[in-house]
């Protein structure tokens, strides 16, 4: 439920209350209702557009007994007015609560630090790649990468393939395309093929990882120089 829905619901509720009250109120006086009862000589005086009255021999129409009130009755009574005001207060309170809640959320201009996350995890990945069979090592390496990137807020959607996720990471952040793509290609070969993977594949993954590490170091070094 967003702000607009709440506002519309509140206004709709208030309008409904008003409608119910008007429908169940005392009959509203007609504008040309006579002020006297049937006992007296009653005549409807209907004003013509020209300003003249109809001839005084016009037929009299029986009228309902009136209350004899001179003023137009107000459709609200005090209880209804309170209810209406209460509704307004509730709607305003809801809007205020939502505004305060949204203010606690992350501000838009904070991006997850994927480069930082990758820089953290790359040394650990070298160890993962070096252990076990090439196929398991490459898949484990990719899983660790995905998990680390997910922790920065860029989670792989369950319907996304690894290519789509990679492209999304690459499109969003300035990480080198060739390196990540070659790692992703090796991951897909390890994950979905049945032919044997040998040390050649492990070496290719290690080389890609080393290249990525070097790029990340180069990317963070200018910041160190600037601060240093």
């Amino acid at each position: 439920m967003d702000r607009r829905t709440v506002a519309i619901a509140g206004a709709g509720g208030a309008a409904l209350v008003l409608l119910i009250r008007v429908a169940t109120a005392d009959p509203v006086r007609m504008w040309h209702e006579p002020t006297r009862t049937l006992e007296g000589r009653t005549r409807e005086v209907v004003m013509l557009p020209s300003g003249e009255d109809l001839p005084r021999t016009a037929v009299t129409f029986p009228q309902l007994e009136t209350n004899g009130q001179q003023s137009v009755p107000v459709p609200f009574n005090v209880a209804d007015l309170m209810l209406f005001l209460l509704l307004i207060v509730v709607v305003v309170a809801l809007l205020l609560w939502r505004h305060l809640r949204d203010a606690d959320a992350e501000p838009f201009d904070t991006l997850p630090d994927v480069q930082g996350a990758l820089a953290d995890v790359v040394p650990g990945l070298e160890h993962v790649l070096a252990s076990g069979k090439p196929r398991d090592a490459i898949v484990a390496c990719w899983v660790q990468l995905e998990l680390r990137v997910a922790r920065t807020g860029l989670q792989r959607d369950h319907a996304e393939t690894s290519t789509e996720f990679t492209e999304r990471v690459l499109d969003t952040y300035a990480v080198d395309r060739r390196t990540i793509r070659s790692l992703a290609d090796l991951y897909r070969e390890a994950r979905f093929s049945r032919h044997e993977l040998d040390e050649h594949h492990r070496a290719a993954a290690t080389a890609a990882l080393a290249e990525l590490k070097a790029q990340l170091q180069r990317a963070t070094r200018p910041a160190e120089v600037a601060s240093g």
């Binding site: 069979k133 196929r135 398991d136 898949v139 990719w142 899983v143 995905e146 959607d157 369950h158 319907a159 996304e160 393939t161 690894s162 290519t163 789509e164 991951y187 897909r188 070969e189 994950r191 979905f192 093929s193 049945r194 032919h195 044997e196 993977l197």
Partner: protein
């Protein structure tokens, strides 16, 4: 268990990938700028299936079919479907030969390598059924005698999506027989300019292409496609996509098991064209629209909405979980 990489198989896949690239390059000399659509058509042919080209007039459907026939080295026949076309006009019939005093069978256009069935939605259901039966069974029965259609036999059917006057739309059960439905779409301005420039450079109407392979070569390529491995998670993904179309709220009838089979066959061929001997979920997603959209029937009350087979497939692709790293087939470990 790891299968040791058969160097022969790897070479085969590489050779097929190279040849597929050459075929597409050659066809692109005639059909400008439609590489992705052309590779879908080639994937269908390598998977042994038939293709429905649904497009507005003048977008190169006949040209593409003729170009593929020339490049693949297949015999090419064109059948223009009209409302008065009879099944015998397609299959052939027995004709009395006065000299020998016997009936001899005169073969119809179905006896060919690549058949272009132009405007398949202009012919009555009986003729459509004759064609579709030949596509399915790869044989024809005329007056009690059965004739096998020698492989390879592929049909490229065309249909114009706009015309409704005097057409007999293919029923859903028949649409299911086509492995893929492909549209080329209008070319970009640059591509259209390129078409005109090439025509002027050629100085003649017909475009002749170099045959890259022949019927036997195509059969060999199809055999290699059969050796591509498919991980169990990818197979389950194909099935999940097809079953999701059946459960979609806008769908009256979803894709049948033919749909999941089509996904599998087409994605294997796509993998080979890309030079791989394994299928990835990306291959499945790549062929999903072409392989599934025409098998889906939308609820009739949604005729005014933008819902179509394409939109349902797009929905399904963005909701069905793709195979992840950690749920791989454990028999693969090694």
């Amino acid at each position: 268990m790891n299968v040791a990489r058969d160097p022969g198989q790897a070479d085969d896949v590489d050779a097929v990938a190279r040849r597929a690239g050459e075929i597409l390059d050659e066809v692109e000399r005639a059909v400008v700028g439609k590489r992705e659509a052309l590779s879908l058509v080639l994937a269908s042919i390598l998977a042994g299936g038939h293709i429905l080209l649904e497009d507005f007039p003048g977008l190169g459907k006949t040209l593409a079919a003729r170009s593929f026939a020339q490049t693949l080295g297949l015999t090419f026949k064109r059948a223009q479907f009209t409302p008065d076309l009879l099944p015998a006009d397609l299959t052939g019939s027995f004709v009395f030969d006065q000299r020998s005093g016997e009936f001899s069978f005169r073969k119809g256009p179905l006896f060919t390598g690549l058949l272009l069935a132009d405007e398949i939605n202009r012919t009555p259901p009986k003729t459509q059924a004759a064609l579709l039966e030949a596509m399915q069974e790869l044989q024809i029965t005329v007056e009690g005698q059965t004739f096998r259609l020698p492989p390879p036999f592929h049909v490229l059917a065309t249909a114009n999506p706009v015309e409704y006057e005097g057409t007999y739309p293919l029923p859903e059960a028949q649409l299911d027989r086509f492995l893929m439905r492909v549209s080329f779409g209008y070319p970009t301005e640059d591509e259209e300019g390129d078409v005109l420039r090439r025509r002027m450079a050629r100085r003649k109407e017909e475009q002749s292409l170099r045959p890259v392979t022949d019927a036997a070569g195509l059969l060999a390529m199809q055999t290699v496609v059969e050796t591509v491995t498919v991980d169990d998670s990818v197979t389950r993904y194909c099935v999940a996509l097809a079953t999701s179309t059946r459960r979609h709220p806008s769908v009256l009838v979803g894709a049948s098991p033919r749909g999941s089979l089509a996904l599998l066959l087409a994605s294997r061929a796509t993998a080979v064209i890309a030079g791989r001997d394994y299928v990835t979920p990306e291959d499945v997603k790549h062929v999903a629209r072409a392989a599934l959209a025409h098998r889906i029937t939308i609820k009739p009350e949604l005729w005014m909405s933008n819902t179509s087979g394409q939109s349902v497939v797009a929905d399904v692709l963005s909701t069905v979980p793709a195979p992840a790293a950690l749920d791989r087939d454990t028999s693969n470990v090694g």
